[in-house]
């Protein structure tokens, strides 16, 4: 489809000009929100960054903002470990589910299973958190106290991000041209060989996008991890140790934080946004690759 230079369709009528100007205004307002967010994060974190500098946030041994220690590294580790664990679990399960739906499931089962996953995608994170707190935490505590731990966090998050990976993968597998599959089948390849050799490579960029989205969701998730992770600021030694993520840190302390402490929490927010910016860049890069292929 050719792109149209749509501005040129504009007539000189008053209505067209008004609508165009109005919508341009809306568009600029929408674009300004990101700038406003960054501006306010910077403005609010400026006092502490100005006084102690950025490096202290990565070098201080721990997080005691009221007594002047601002080490955010344990929480960065917390965020990364919880994310890594949940993505490692959810990715194979999600992609296998999508392959199941597209290529293996009996025709009546596939839409049912998809509907189930869609339903789960819609369950709010605080409900996952509630369930994790009431059901999983006591369960893990029986193995090793205190129960609120990295493991519980990974478990809950994996369930939460699985639908994202599954649904995106499902959609991109559905977009694989049927001709490719027919062609491969005509060569006498087995179903799994077709999936592995044709479908997955073709849908690769889509699968990657799904995983990236899931990573973004996992890093940004607050309530569920706040409720099940224990929130102790430490680099965990085992899966059963409690951890605190950057997001939980904000949610936990924001209500009580004053002055520099509050400012330090906005730095947490900045670090989080930085992580997301990195992810978005990777995502762009993946999509570019897809375009040039």
């Amino acid at each position: 489809m050719t792109t149209l230079l749509k501005r040129s369709i504009l007539s000189r009528s008053y209505g067209d000009r008004f609508v165009a100007a109005l919508f341009q205004g809306f568009a600029i307002a929408s674009g300004a929100i990101v700038l406003l967010i960054i501006l306010f994060l910077l403005r609010e974190s400026y006092p502490i960054l100005h006084r102690v500098g950025v490096l202290r946030f990565f070098r201080d041994p721990s997080w005691h903002p009221t007594s002047g220690e601002f080490g955010a590294m344990p929480m960065l580790w917390g965020s990364l470990l919880v994310t890594l664990g949940s993505v490692l679990i959810a990715t194979p399960l999600g992609i296998l589910s999508a392959i199941f739906c597209q290529y293996y499931a009996p025709p009546r089962l596939a839409p049912l299973y998809r509907r189930l996953i869609e339903l789960l995608a819609g369950i709010p994170s605080v409900v996952y958190g509630l369930w994790g707190l009431v059901v999983l935490v006591p369960l893990v505590r029986r193995i090793q106290p205190p129960g609120t731990s990295l493991l519980t966090g990974i478990w809950v998050l994996a369930l939460m991000i699985l639908p994202t990976i599954m649904l995106v993968a499902d959609a991109s597998l559905a977009n694989v041209p049927a001709a490719y599959l027919r062609g491969a089948a005509a060569l006498g390849l087995s179903r799994w060989a077709i999936v592995r050799g044709v479908a997955i490579p073709t849908a690769q960029a889509g699968l990657m996008t799904g995983i990236l989205l899931a990573i973004g969701r996992a890093i940004g998730e607050t309530m569920a991890v706040l409720m099940v992770c224990g929130n102790v600021v430490q680099v965990p030694d085992s899966l059963f140790d409690p951890v605190r993520t950057l997001t939980a840190n904000i949610a936990l302390e924001m209500a009580y934080a004053m002055n520099e402490h509050r400012s330090a929490l906005f730095v947490s927010g900045l670090i989080l946004t930085g992580l997301i910016a990195i992810l978005v860049t990777i995502g762009e890069w993946v999509n570019r690759g897809q375009m040039y292929d």
């Binding site: 165009a20 674009g31 929100i33 605080v126 409900v127 924001m254 997301i276």
Partner: protein, 289 residues
């Protein structure tokens, strides 16, 4: 040809293995989700009653109902949609119909929307607290919460509306131009109705995200569980109520489950009715008018 032989042999070995792997992972996931859902339904269903939906929470939520919380949630979502729909649809229409993709404004908007879509909700909470509550002086209020959520759902709304508009064939735009029909008329008469499925999907996703949101509301719309009398009052959303009951109230699990069930049912109902309305709207536009 020679190369293919070992491959096919390997895959014939892999086939049953894969079948097993696939079915077991599907069973695992279904099992986990059944566990979650049955828990919510089992514990939550006992709490559901007309009184639960209408009464004030008593004893910090342990007993009593969720009346004011439902009202606050509705108001927050109302503010959110009232701001985000015009802004989102307007932006999408501008990007797709009035602006060339090469223009810097479009490119800037594209990038900033990608970032906005990825920003964690807790960061929206920080921003909302600093901007709406403090700088604009709205305080902990339903208005602050709704505006914060509006910023959050905006990228979803814009992207889906754009997708909807993109799916409208250029033929319509061309023939409209050849007939000398004004741009805005084509927009209202043809493009937006044709893009309605996309818009509806965006709306669904947006409402879904907004109503499920907790972190962004903790420091913007606040904790107060009383019946709100104006948009400037603090109001507790359903999800915040669940959080509070689950974490801060000993013996609050039952009502937490009840509220969770209400929230999930509400989400499903909204999804169903919006998609039904969207379909109907599109049909009437195309057929009757």
């Amino acid at each position: 040809m020679i190369k293919q032989r070992p491959r096919s042999r390997r895959s014939s070995f892999g086939e049953p293995l894969m079948q097993g792997l696939l079915w077991s992972s599907v069973l695992l996931i279904t099992g986990a989700f059944m566990w979650l859902c049955s828990d919510i339904v089992r514990h939550g269903f006992r709490q559901l009653s007309w009184d639960f939906l209408t009464q004030l929470p008593r004893d910090t939520g342990r007993s009593g109902g969720i009346g004011p919380i439902l009202v606050s949630t509705g108001l927050i979502i109302g503010v959110c949609l009232g701001v985000s729909i015009p802004l989102g649809v307007g932006t999408a229409v501008f990007l797709n119909e009035f602006s060339a993709p090469q223009r810097w404004l479009s490119q800037f908007l594209g990038i900033s929307l990608d970032i906005l879509a990825g920003v964690p909700s807790i960061v929206f909470g920080l921003f909302g607290n600093a901007f709406f509550c403090k700088t604009l002086g709205l305080g902990f209020s339903i208005l602050s919460g709704g505006l914060t959520l509006a910023c959050m759902v905006l990228p979803i709304l814009i992207r889906s509306t754009q997708a909807g508009l993109q799916s409208v064939p250029n033929d319509y735009r061309l023939s409209a131009a050849a007939l000398g029909v004004s741009r805005s008329a084509v927009l209202w008469q043809v493009l937006l109705p044709a893009a309605m499925p996309g818009l509806v999907v965006g709306l669904l996703l947006g409402i879904g995200r907004a109503i499920a949101e907790t972190a962004a509301l903790l420091f913007t719309s606040g904790y107060v569980d009383r019946m709100p009398t104006s948009l400037m009052d603090s109001g507790r959303a359903l999800s915040v109520h669940i959080y509070d009951l689950a974490v801060n109230v000993a013996g609050g699990e039952q009502n937490a489950y009840g509220t969770a069930l209400v929230l999930v049912l509400l989400l499903m109902m909204i999804n169903g009715s919006v998609s039904w309305l969207g379909k109907r709207f599109q049909q009437t536009r195309i057929l009757d008018v």
